[in-house]
């Protein structure tokens, strides 16, 4: 029993250390965005020789949204001799195929659908097949619910003039913020995540994350790395680490902004966050050691990459630590540290540490010029517990995946646009 108590106490200290590190990370990023030197992106470069681009749009039963994105694609500002769109119809059972064929018939030089009704299912497998068909040097991916602005492709493609950049990530902005409190809160999170977190990592030459959509990569580089791993749920995070480990950089384009449809129901969000956690943690298990051993990346890039890899483990650590602390409390063994310095640490952590992510979100809103909606930040407290639960479940899923070597099944996020349109009309 004594051994168990010692282990539990050590686990609590470990958790405190992990939380302190992530708190410092939040503050460093926030302070960098507020007061640090800002590193400019490549959007000021105008170049008449940008490389050929292929847009990939994975679609599974997307009849509600696919017309919108195809219409947007036809308005894109790019040399159409160097531009093609491959919507990937991945086992759709609704009218997606018919709609794609309709557009392909009207614009055969630009829209070249790929219909998949055999072989491996899921986004990574679909992307792999499309990579074989694509002719562009640069691959840019959008989800089917996205609404890209006209200038975004040039803005993304230009960063590949930097010979070290293998992938680039743009910024996602929810279009349906007005729907309910969940979409409002997701908008806050996106603001903190992109405007502060990603941009600060770009400023500090760390490891911005390629997010799988509103972003692109060099086709040949990904083919050389062996395409996407079809067993991975988080193929985007995996690509970030594979590129980093092979000496490529991920750029972040804060001004390559694109609207997305945020989940409008808690059940959908729960499934999404659990899937992200499962996929991300799977990547962490696979790449943690290679990251530690890598010769290509600097010490601080390595530290950032490891913290990025571990970001979906922290909620599970915290949740299990809460259980451990309760056990210690009822065993009468809560006294781990005593003294003034520890008391000061607790006070400081309660004052600043607990709120570090909220400062980050608030800073994001401030930089975006959204002042009123910062009033919603206290409600993120509820999201914290919600995410802690579902992220921990995702971690458990990933752990089981590792232990049992079971196959993961891709589940797409439900769309709401059609419902919203129906609601509007009614």
């Amino acid at each position: 029993m004594e051994m168990a108590i010692v282990l539990m106490k050590c686990y609590m200290l470990f958790t405190i250390a992990v939380l302190a590190i992530y708190t410092a990370r939040h503050f460093i990023f926030t302070i960098n965005r507020l007061f640090g030197k800002q590193r400019i992106y490549y959007h000021d470069i105008i170049d008449s020789d940008l490389r050929p681009v292929t847009i990939l749009i994975p679609m599974h039963n997307e009849e509600a949204v696919c017309r919108d994105i195809l219409e947007r694609m036809l308005l894109i500002d790019y040399d159409f001799k160097k531009f093609e769109v491959i919507p990937i119809n991945d086992f759709s059972e609704d009218k997606t195929k018919d709609i794609l064929e309709e557009y392909a018939a009207k614009h055969p030089d630009v829209i070249k659908p790929l219909h998949r009704y055999a072989g491996e299912r899921g986004k990574p497998a679909a992307l792999n097949e499309a990579l074989q068909k694509a002719r562009g040097d640069i691959i840019i991916i959008f989800d089917a619910d996205y609404l890209p602005p006209r200038g975004i492709i040039k803005n993304i493609a230009v960063c590949f003039n930097d010979p070290e950049v293998g992938a680039v990530m743009g910024r996602v902005i929810p279009v349906n913020t007005r729907v309910n409190i969940l979409t409002q809160l997701l908008d806050l999170e996106r603001s903190g995540g992109y405007q502060v977190d990603q941009q600060a990592r770009w400023n500090m030459r760390l490891v911005p994350q390629y997010g799988g959509t509103v972003g692109g990569f060099l086709r040949q580089v990904v083919l050389d790395l062996g395409s996407f791993n079809v067993k991975m749920l988080a193929e985007d995070t995996e690509l970030t680490f594979r590129l980093t480990l092979n000496g490529w950089k991920v750029a972040y384009a804060n001004r390559a902004e694109c609207y997305e449809e945020a989940p409008e129901s808690w059940a959908v969000r729960a499934r999404q966050i659990r899937r992200w956690s499962r996929g991300h943690n799977d990547v962490m298990f696979k790449y943690l050691l290679p990251l530690l051993r890598s010769d290509y990346i600097s010490g601080r890039e390595k530290a950032d990459a490891i913290l990025l890899a571990g970001v979906y483990v922290v909620p599970a650590i915290l949740l299990s630590c809460m259980v451990v602390s309760m056990a210690l409390f009822f065993l009468g063994e809560m006294e781990i540290f005593a003294g003034v310095f520890f008391l000061i640490f607790i006070g400081v952590y309660n004052t600043f540490g607990n709120f570090a992510p909220f400062y980050q979100v608030g800073t994001g809103c401030l930089l975006d010029g959204m002042k009123q909606r910062t009033l919603l930040i206290p409600f993120l407290l509820f999201n914290f517990y919600f995410y802690m639960w579902y992220t921990s479940r995702g971690f458990a899923d990933a752990l089981l995946d590792r232990l049992t070597r079971r196959r993961t099944i891709w589940q797409k996020t439900a769309r709401f646009r059609a419902k919203t349109e129906e609601q509007k009309s009614s």
Partner: protein, 341 residues
């Protein structure tokens, strides 16, 4: 007392932080999605294109007689259709000026609003302009101050000591004399100095028309700090520190440095040049790709960036200095101080 304290604690902990949020949740005063301009396309001549379109709608293909008219921009504005093509010295015009043909100004003329010239414009010394759109050529005499932007379909020549405002763009050549300061220049090409003669970059003599294929993606050298004079490098160079490129060398690839980059005279680089520090390009070099620095960029005398028929960019986050005879086919921009030496 205890009950009061408990209630106060509960209110301050669980009610007070959420009151503003509840109000915002229901009133949704700030719930509109963050604005993205869905039609935005990067065009260095955007201001002028937009102004011309707007003004041509106003003109509606009519030949306006000299006089004062009203035009509705974001607010109502007066437009003065100029009768004389020459404006006398020390005159101040506080309305939008429209010259149906050529326009010439004497010394010290001040324009507080935009000017649209359908012919060519010859702006006298020490003039003060807000914005000028011209369908022909523009010449700015020395020490002219441009507050915002200038665009010409034809050639632009700016005399010594001009302040070129936020943006100076041309459909043809843009000649900018020593002592001019700028933020953005665009032309085919932008040339520093007063001579319209072609640049004599070493590489220009050898490789004017030659097309260089991009280097293979994997062909990169990561630890170089020096490239020797008269050497040929057939791969891209990425270095975690500074890099020095010796005179008369040729690099058939891209360069990326995390420190400063110094390029000696008569060097040819066929790819793009990126640096996290400063970039100093020597005399008579030829860079066929873009130049981008998080620090400063300095282009030496007689050097050339890009080539005819292409658009390339020189971007320096902190400063851009162009020496006499330097030519950039495309776009030059800086967030800080741009200057012709």
């Amino acid at each position: 007392m205890i009950v009061f304290l408990c209630v106060r604690f509960l209110v301050f902990s669980f009610v007070w932080p959420f009151i503003g949020g509840w109000r915002e949740m229901y009133a949704a005063n700030d719930a509109i999605p963050l604005f993205i301009n869905m039609d935005y396309m990067k065009d260095p001549r955007y201001f002028a294109i937009s102004f011309r379109r707007f003004f041509k709608n106003f003109l509606n293909n009519e030949d306006l007689r000299p006089g004062i008219y009203e035009l509705r921009f974001s607010k109502p504005e007066k437009v003065c259709v100029l009768e004389n093509s020459v404006l006398s010295s020390e005159r101040t015009l506080d309305v939008i000026a429209y010259a149906p043909r050529d326009l010439a100004t004497e010394n010290g003329v001040s324009f507080e609003k935009e000017i649209y010239v359908r012919g060519s414009a010859a702006i006298g010394q020490n003039n003060d302009l807000r914005a000028l759109v011209c369908d022909g050529d523009v010449s700015l005499a020395k020490n002219t101050v441009l507050r915002r932007w200038l665009d010409a379909e034809g050639n632009i020549s700016a005399g010594e000591g001009c302040n070129l405002g936020v943006s100076l763009t041309s459909g043809k050549e843009c000649l900018v004399a020593a002592g001019c300061v700028f933020r953005r220049l665009y032309g085919a090409p932008v040339k520093a100095g007063t001579s319209r003669k072609k640049s004599f970059a070493l590489a220009a003599r050898d490789d004017e028309e030659r097309v260089f294929p991009p280097p293979p993606l994997g062909a990169k050298e990561r630890q170089l700090e020096e490239i020797w004079p008269y050497s040929d490098t057939r791969f891209s160079v990425i270095t975690p520190n500074r890099l020095w490129v010796g005179a008369n060398s040729r690099i058939l690839g891209h360069i990326k440095t995390y420190g400063n980059l110094n390029v000696d005279d008569n060097v040819l680089i066929t790819g793009n040049v990126f640096a996290e520090g400063d970039i100093v390009i020597g005399q008579f070099c030829k860079i066929l790709g873009d130049i981008f620095a998080q620090g400063s960029v300095s282009i030496g005398e007689g050097s050339q960036v890009g080539r005819p028929g292409k658009i390339k960019s020189v971007v320096g986050n902190q400063t851009v200095f162009l020496s006499s005879g330097a030519a950039v086919y495309g776009y030059v921009t800086t967030e800080g101080d741009g200057r012709v030496l």
